[in-house]
């Protein structure tokens, strides 16, 4: 199916474990983003990517790692999960940013709980 999909939709993990959240888009959009959503903070940018093999930090990158070996995939890894990383994570993609800013399409989100 066309679109942007995240997996898993729900995840419970223990403190200290490594967790990877997957994001896949079928449009070949150049830009992809990871956000976390917490009450009172809105959507905060974790990492973004302008193209395959090009990634950069957002506002809250500590404790997270990303990679983008293929245009369509942008996985987010929590190297050693902490309770403060309990959140809803959204992946988004866009055909352009900056001066070519365009609509961002969001995945359905992953609700992650760290216990």
């Amino acid at each position: 199916d066309a679109g942007i999909t995240q997996s898993p939709r729900y995840k419970i993990t223990e403190t200290g474990r490594q967790v990877t959240l997957m994001c896949h888009q079928t449009w070949s959009h150049s830009y992809m983003f990871w956000y976390r959503q917490d009450l009172g903070h809105g959507l905060r940018l974790i990492y973004y990517s302008a193209a395959a093999d090009i990634t950069d930090k957002g506002e809250v990158p500590d404790g997270y790692v990303v990679s983008r070996s293929k245009t369509e995939n942008f996985p987010l890894t929590l190297e050693s999960a902490t309770r403060s990383q309990t959140s809803v994570y959204f992946c988004a993609s866009s055909v352009g940013q900056g001066r070519d800013s365009a609509e961002a399409f969001f995945g359905q989100g992953t609700r992650l709980t760290v216990v």
Partner: protein, 110 residues
């Protein structure tokens, strides 16, 4: 980096109007507006690309003052379906970051 929205929350009766503001400390090239229903992903409403540009989407419109780095979303004659959290998203003149505001919860009651 994250733009600030005001108010944080608003409750309206059907048919009333509302204004949501978005302000950034950085020079902006564009402002987006999104609406998120509870438990769902944000959905795009509109994008404003030029200073002073105003756009409309049915009874929802927005303005963008590039010099002041501010945008406002106007909801007129609100409907129950307008309930949700509204986010502004901002793209700077340089770089590829795309930041969202803190969100405004809007509730429309009968």
């Amino acid at each position: 980096q994250q733009p600030v929205q005001s108010p944080q929350a608003v409750i309206l009766r059907e048919g009333e109007d509302a204004v949501i503001n978005c302000s950034s400390s950085k020079a902006l090239y564009s402002v987006h507006w999104y609406r998120q229903k509870h438990g769902e992903a944000p959905v795009f409403l509109m994008i404003l690309l030029k200073g002073g540009e105003q756009k409309g989407h049915e009874k929802i419109s927005a303005s963008f003052n590039e010099k002041k780095q501010q945008s406002s979303l106007y909801l007129t004659a609100s409907q129950l379906s307008y309930s949700g959290t509204y986010f502004c998203g901002t793209a700077k003149n340089t770089g590829n970051q795309f930041y969202f505001g803190t969100g405004t919860s809007l509730t429309v009651i009968p």
